[in-house]
């Protein structure tokens, strides 16, 4: 490749938030997973925007899903304050709708980011999307559980070339680990980016927020070995093993 222009990488980050009925069920502390994750979004944006270097590189989009997918925040640079709408409550957990909706967004979002970098004295390279899929790991739609083969094609569209997204699937204790593992990317036949909150963590939502922020910071700032697709195990979480 020629080096006539220097490159700056932009990192598209998607937060997919499960807003189904099961996520709103209050836990022992009277707080539901949904409450915790709801707080995650402003915490995440404020923390990332606080760092000038991260704000320059990170773009964020928030999508809620329940009965259907709902765009809460279109792909937005963190150099300006993004506006995130509140989600509508849902009853179901339609993975196929959520992943299909996201797969359709990736191309236009990439164009949005590239257009913002046009005309500068550097080239904007859009990095592989980083997707945080926050769920209880129980896909349910149209009155029955969704089989993996129903949502897997949309998930595979995201992780295959040319998108090559990295997916971290995050759930609270009690979430279905097998589903989280099937959603997540990782080493072929090895570890995957599927995480469960540690049991007994009273402030699960808060620690998850902090963990997601850490994961984003590390993904943007730190170099990795070629071929490495694994996100470090965040504090307050444990990796789901196969």
């Amino acid at each position: 490749m020629t080096l006539t222009l220097s490159e700056r990488k932009s990192y598209p980050i998607y937060i997919l938030l499960d807003v189904s009925a099961s996520m709103r069920r209050a836990g022992p502390g009277g707080r539901s997973p949904h409450d915790g994750f709801q707080q995650l979004i402003p915490d995440l944006i404020m923390t990332l925007a606080d760092s000038r270097s991260l704000a320059k590189a990170a773009w964020i989009s928030v999508i809620a899903f329940g009965d259907h997918a709902e765009l809460l925040c279109p792909m937005t640079s963190l150099t300006r304050p993004p506006h995130v709408r509140s989600p509508h409550s849902g009853r179901h957990t339609d993975y196929a709708a959520a992943l299909g909706f996201l797969a359709d967004r990736v191309g236009p979002d990439r164009e949005t980011i590239e257009a913002a970098g046009a005309g500068q004295d550097y080239r904007t390279r859009v990095a592989r999307p980083l997707i945080f899929f926050i769920t209880d790991g129980a896909p349910y739609a149209h009155g029955r559980y969704q089989a993996p083969e129903e949502w897997r094609p949309a998930r595979d569209r995201l992780v295959a070339a040319p998108v090559e997204a990295r997916i971290a699937a995050i759930g609270l204790e009690g979430a279905h680990g097998g589903t989280l593992r099937a959603l997540a990317t990782g080493r072929p036949g090895g570890e995957r980016n599927a995480f469960l909150a540690d049991p007994g963590d009273q402030a699960a939502g808060d620690s998850l927020a902090a963990s997601v922020i850490t994961m984003i910071e590390r993904s943007i700032r730190l170099s990795v070995r070629a071929g490495e697709l694994i996100i470090d195990e965040p504090h307050g979480m444990r990796r789901v093993h196969g």
Partner: protein, 394 residues
């Protein structure tokens, strides 16, 4: 009648002026084209790939006012004043085209760095025989000159500047910087080795790996058997460094929780210029700067994420050989610095092309490498070698 003669006369005078203007413009256009051709030829001569490329020799001298005069094999003369402006004359002493100065660009905002001089004059020290500097919790730098300036075969003097800085990103997260730089002068062979390693940030012991890699590669370069040329030993050299890393830092399962890029260059100064060989694994880069133009010597750009080749995982370096003319600058750096360079338009490339027309002091160099740009928050390292105009180029 007299009136019509006057009009005719005026018309002839105007036509004459117009013709002269056309001739002058054409001459200027031809000279401008000549200038471009000459600069292109100059650039090609700086970067002749492969060994054995001939170097045209001429004469150089410098006067007390800092003016440098050169005469080439064809009798053309070039005079460069202390501010870097150049004037050329042909063999008959007639002026040739003037080489345009780089367009002036405002320096980065902020106060200029002025040396506090109380008395006397700062002198460039000799480069230490071997130096390794890291950026774990602080910035480090070294500088000095080296070369074979006396004896029967004097060579161009090399002036070295090296700095490594913990990045803003690591500082904000209270993590250690993981860049390490080094240099070693091999007095027996009369060559300089410079190296840069950038620890892979996602692994906790990468700073230590980078430190070990620089120490090991310089040691192996200095102790290499005489019958093995540096440019033929890239794979063996990197295999040995990788094996040493696993031996010294690996646990029972031989896994080390760290990795690092590595780039190392041998600079063999001649009387007139220097011959350079670069071996590299990963996204640390090597560049040359000459006559205001940046030329990439080693890079591995093009990936869509932060993944890089590294040691000990990858032991096959890419190897490049170059012939650098006097006045050229060789720069090795981690991606936190060289990532902001390109061949033409980036603010850093343009700024340094202007600022490094003359060799900066170590303090100026430190200021230049620690440029301010919110985007570039990674650890930042650069080792630069100015190829002197001859043994006496202090």
């Amino acid at each position: 009648m007299a009136e019509s003669q006057l009009i005719l006369g005026l018309f002839l005078v105007m036509a004459g002026v117009l013709a002269l203007a056309v001739v002058a413009l054409r001459r200027r256009a031809i000279l401008s084209q000549e200038s471009q051709d000459r600069q292109a030829a100059l650039l090609r001569s700086v970067l002749r790939r492969g060994p054995g490329a001939p170097t045209r020799r001429g004469r150089r001298e410098k006067d007390a006012g800092g003016r440098r005069r050169e005469k080439d094999a064809d009798g053309r003369r070039r005079e460069t004043d202390a501010d870097g402006r150049r004037r050329e004359t042909d063999a008959g002493g007639q002026p040739r085209t003037a080489v345009a100065e780089q367009p002036a660009r405002p320096a980065a905002p902020g106060p200029a760095v002025h040396r506090l001089v109380l008395d006397g004059q700062e002198r460039e020290p000799r480069l230490p025989a071997q130096v390794v500097a890291g950026s774990a919790r602080h910035g480090s730098f070294f500088h000095g000159w080296c070369g074979t300036t006396s004896g029967p075969h004097p060579t161009a003097r090399l002036n070295v500047r090296g700095v490594t800085l913990r990045g803003v990103g690591h500082a904000e997260q209270d993590l250690e910087g993981q860049d390490v730089i080094g240099a070693a002068w091999d007095d027996r062979r009369g060559v300089l080795y410079v190296a840069v390693a950038d620890g892979v940030g996602s692994l906790p012991r990468s700073g230590r790996v980078a430190q070990e890699a620089i120490t090991a590669v310089l040691h192996l370069c200095l102790t290499r058997p005489d019958d093995i040329a540096f440019d033929a030993t890239g794979a063996r050299l990197f295999e040995a460094v990788a094996a040493g890393l696993v031996r010294s830092l690996g646990g029972d399962d031989a896994r080390i929780d760290g990795a690092s890029t590595l780039i190392v260059a041998e600079i063999a100064p001649r009387f007139d210029g220097a011959y350079v060989t670069v071996h590299g694994v990963g996204d640390s880069e090597a560049w040359a700067l000459y006559a205001g133009a940046w030329i990439p010597l080693h890079h591995e750009r093009g990936g869509g994420d932060n993944a890089t080749r590294e040691l000990p995982g990858h032991v096959r370096p890419h190897t490049q050989r170059y012939d650098l003319s006097p006045g050229a600058v060789l720069v090795l750096g981690s991606d936190g610095f060289t990532g902001a360079l390109d061949e033409s338009v980036s603010p850093l490339s343009r700024g340094l092309a202007r600022l490094w027309r003359r060799r900066p002091t170590w303090l100026e160099f430190l200021n230049h490498v620690s440029f301010v740009d919110d985007y570039w928050s990674d650890d930042r390292s650069a080792v630069a070698v100015w190829i002197g105009e001859g043994p006496a180029d202090a």
